[in-house]
């Protein structure tokens, strides 16, 4: 009962935040609502007893990436962007495309509705999962993890090389 209550609270924060992120005119307001969405996702992680993921979500996305976003938004002069038209005048086409995608997703969900069974709730508290995450990343999936980190490094170096005119 209480579980469901919290789930709906977090879910509505996420959805409302996402909606307001794309509809606000001011970029700073959008960023603030995106922060609310990310915090809601951290809350859902916590609700699923994945406390490590929740902590990392807040530290990395909310405390790191979004601060950088905000930093860039503050630096850029946004007066011009705020006065521009926010939406394209292709309402009907967009609505049709969105309806098609939505219908497809709903149809898929309807066809596979038998597969949605909730796992039985774990009685009591789950063991701390920081260690489990560490083991999974550094033992079972060591190679993909390292490959991903090298890819990120390459992307970072590439961005610096492209941005800097003289090295």
């Amino acid at each position: 009962m209480l579980d469901q209550f919290f789930f709906y609270i977090f879910a509505s924060v996420i959805l409302l935040g996402g909606l307001l992120t794309i509809t606000r005119r001011s970029a700073v307001h959008s960023a603030i609502f995106l922060i609310a969405t990310l915090l809601g996702i951290a809350g859902l992680f916590l609700h699923l007893q994945a406390e490590f993921l929740a902590g990392v979500q807040v530290i990395l996305y909310v405390g790191g990436i979004m601060v950088l976003f905000l930093f860039v938004i503050m630096l850029v002069n946004l007066d011009q962007a705020a006065r521009q038209r926010q939406f394209n005048r292709q309402w009907w086409l967009a609505l049709l495309a969105a309806a098609a995608v939505c219908g497809e997703a709903l149809y898929g969900l309807y066809r596979g509705r038998g597969a949605f069974t909730f796992p039985g709730a774990v009685p009591g508290n789950m063991p701390p999962n920081t260690q489990a995450v560490g083991n999974a990343l550094y033992q079972n999936y060591m190679l993909p993890f390292e490959v991903a980190s090298i890819m990120l490094l390459v992307a970072m170096v590439g961005a610096v090389v492209m941005a800097k005119k003289r090295l």
Partner: protein
């Protein structure tokens, strides 16, 4: 059962918050006193004995000042920012343990609001959010000085958060837990029967990096660029007045206390006594009784010099301190309060260090700040992790 836990939790929150606010008030007092002594003047000394009522006077002043809202501010965010700063600063105190758990009448009392098994991660999450209070305050004020303060703050916080996070990884490798209580318990015992097994010894480099990054995270001099008054008027809080300014002020000092607590817990064995011998348990009583004696001496001298007959505040204070000191002679009280005494003493040393540095070291320039954060602290902390990992693995 559930209700008792709820009531105990609420009572603990009330007590911790009261103590925290009192500490914040008196850290401000201490700052002004120490600053005065360093600059060869008295600091506050008119309000109450030793100027001890100055925080109350300051609070009343902030309360009765006009709460002025400039016309150019971005309304909701301008009002949100100080609340954000203060709430986030207060939230991080929830997982800080202050003393050993004790069992009284079959019920174990935990000396913290809650012990999360990701306690350290929680603190980093909450402090990483703290930047929003400052950055949004700077942006929403609609003034270029504030905006510069907010920009500097967000760049500085991101840069030094990395160093801060990297600095404590060595401690995590050694202790193998993210729970703050677990980290302190892993530091019990002594080497050769005399050197306490605190992480300051194996993690000295990590501690230096932590200390430096913590100065930057709390926006304290020499890293107080977000509010550099010489160049930015007041930085991010230029446009704030009255209680809204007081909230930023409280948040800054609360953050100071949090990082001091964290340094104590991670590197200095939390509430562990610093020496192994049995007589160490009498040190709290000795220290407090000594303080009471000093205060009595001051009171007597003042009375002799000034003939102020109504001067009873200092003797009263001496009496309270002396009574607490006498209480430490009782074994049950000592068992409960001695760990808290050690914890408080260590935190006090760190707070004093903060104040000392603030009034001794000039402010960094912005490029020096970035250079130090990215090119010095981060590589040093990374090398520290590497070496610690190697030593533990071997």
């Amino acid at each position: 059962m559930d209700l008792t836990i709820l009531i105990i939790s609420l009572a603990k929150i009330a007590v911790v918050l009261t103590v925290l606010f009192t500490c914040v008030a008196y850290v401000v007092w201490l700052e002004r006193k120490v600053a005065g002594r360093i600059q060869n003047r008295w600091g506050p000394h008119r309000t109450g004995p030793f100027g001890l009522l100055q925080p109350a006077a300051d609070f009343l002043k902030a309360l009765f000042k006009e709460d002025f809202t400039p016309a150019q501010v971005q309304r909701p965010i301008y009002f949100l920012a100080p609340f954000l700063a203060m709430t986030l600063a207060l939230m991080s105190i929830a997982v800080i343990p202050f003393g050993e758990n004790v069992t009284i009448a079959g019920r174990t009392i935990f000396f913290e609001i809650t012990d999360l098994n990701i306690g350290l991660l929680y603190i980093f999450a909450v402090t990483s959010l703290g930047v929003y209070g400052i950055a949004l305050a700077g942006w929403s004020s609609g003034s270029k000085y504030s905006l510069m303060g907010g920009l500097r703050s967000s760049a500085q916080m991101i840069s030094y958060e990395l160093g801060l996070g990297f600095a404590v990884v060595g401690v995590l490798i050694l202790s193998g837990t993210l729970s703050l209580r677990g980290i302190v318990n892993a530091q019990s015992g002594f080497w050769f029967g005399i050197i306490p097994k605190w992480y300051i010894w194996p993690q000295f480099v990590g501690f230096l990096v932590y200390l430096t990054a913590a100065f930057a995270e709390t926006n304290r001099t020499p890293f107080d660029l977000p509010e550099a008054e010489g160049e930015l008027v007041g930085g991010f809080h230029t446009e704030y007045s009255s209680l809204k300014f007081a909230m930023f002020f409280t948040a800054e000092y609360t953050n100071m206390i949090t990082v001091a607590c964290l340094a104590t817990l991670l590197f200095f064995g939390g509430w562990m006594a610093p020496l192994p011998w049995a007589w160490v348990q009498h040190v709290p009583a000795l220290v407090l009784l000594g303080m009471a004696a000093l205060m009595t001496r001051t009171a007597l001298r003042t009375y002799r010099l000034e003939r102020r007959k109504s001067y009873f505040a200092v003797p009263g204070l001496a009496g309270i301190v002396g009574l607490i000191g006498l209480a430490f002679l009782h074994p049950v009280f000592a068992a409960v309060a001695a760990p808290m005494f050690w914890f408080a003493s260590k935190v006090f040393v760190f707070l004093f260090l903060y104040i000392w540095v603030r009034w001794s070291v000039p402010r960094f320039r912005y490029d020096q700040l970035m250079h130090l954060g990215w090119k010095v602290l981060l590589p040093v902390a990374a090398a520290n992790i590497l070496i610690t990992g190697l030593v533990v693995a071997l």
